[in-house]
Symmetry: C2
DNA sequence: AAGACATATAGACATATGCTTATATAACTA
DNA sequence: TAGTTATATAAGCATATGTCTATATGTCTT
């Protein structure tokens, strides 16, 4: 992999908010509106962070009804799971979301 | 490790020039003046990149006479070697340096 | 078909980044 | 000690980044 492409991957991970997004997706797949609630930033801001993570092939998407669920894409970087292991555990944030009845449920 | 600290590490790796520096240090320890030759950018620019890598604890230094040699510091990030394995092999760049008689030799 | 909801894109703005030149600091050498 | 070489820091500038509000697009529901 060339230096430019590697840099793009690390640049994508080089932001506090995107680290949190990856740490959250480590727990479970989430959609933008859920990330907005948890992170406390605007919806467009979340969308743009997601776009960078997608461009870097760190995240992939799956549409389900009117929601788009995002999940980790480990296919491109063999070390990605070792890296994610060192990320903070944000399980609790997602629990709060469920407690507050803000978790998206689709069937 | 918290999101802020993780982001600093990845931000440090999120630049083409610093990727190259790390890839070069993977081959052998180098000083600033050697990196200037190989990378073809100004000495202050190299020094500033090195500073970021040092702040992120990705690189450590060792003074030898009037030179300061920089080397990889793998102590903080357990996955760092797996990551560095995917970096380009720049051994040839260092060979060129030696061929041109620009390698620093101290005894 | 019309309205509601989820997500994406555009534009604006403040801050961060990477580069340069000029200068300061540190260590060796004659 | 004076000069030379290596590295670091400062200041300035152009570009990139992250955020917001406003608006567009896409999907479902009634």
């Amino acid at each position: 992999m060339d230096a430019e492409q590697l840099a793009e991957c690390f640049k994508a991970m080089g932001d506090r908010t995107r680290i949190q997004i990856l740490a959250l997706l480590k727990v479970e797949d989430l959609c933008v509106c859920e990330l907005v609630e948890i992170l406390g930033i605007s919806q467009p801001s979340v969308s743009q962070h997601i776009r960078k993570l997608k461009n870097a092939k760190l995240v992939k998407e799956r549409r389900q009804g009117k929601w788009i669920f995002y999940s980790l894409d480990g296919s491109l970087y063999p070390y990605i799971h070792a890296v994610l292991d060192t990320f903070p555990d944000l399980r609790e944030k997602i629990e709060e979301l469920k407690t507050n009845g803000q978790k998206v449920v689709c069937d």
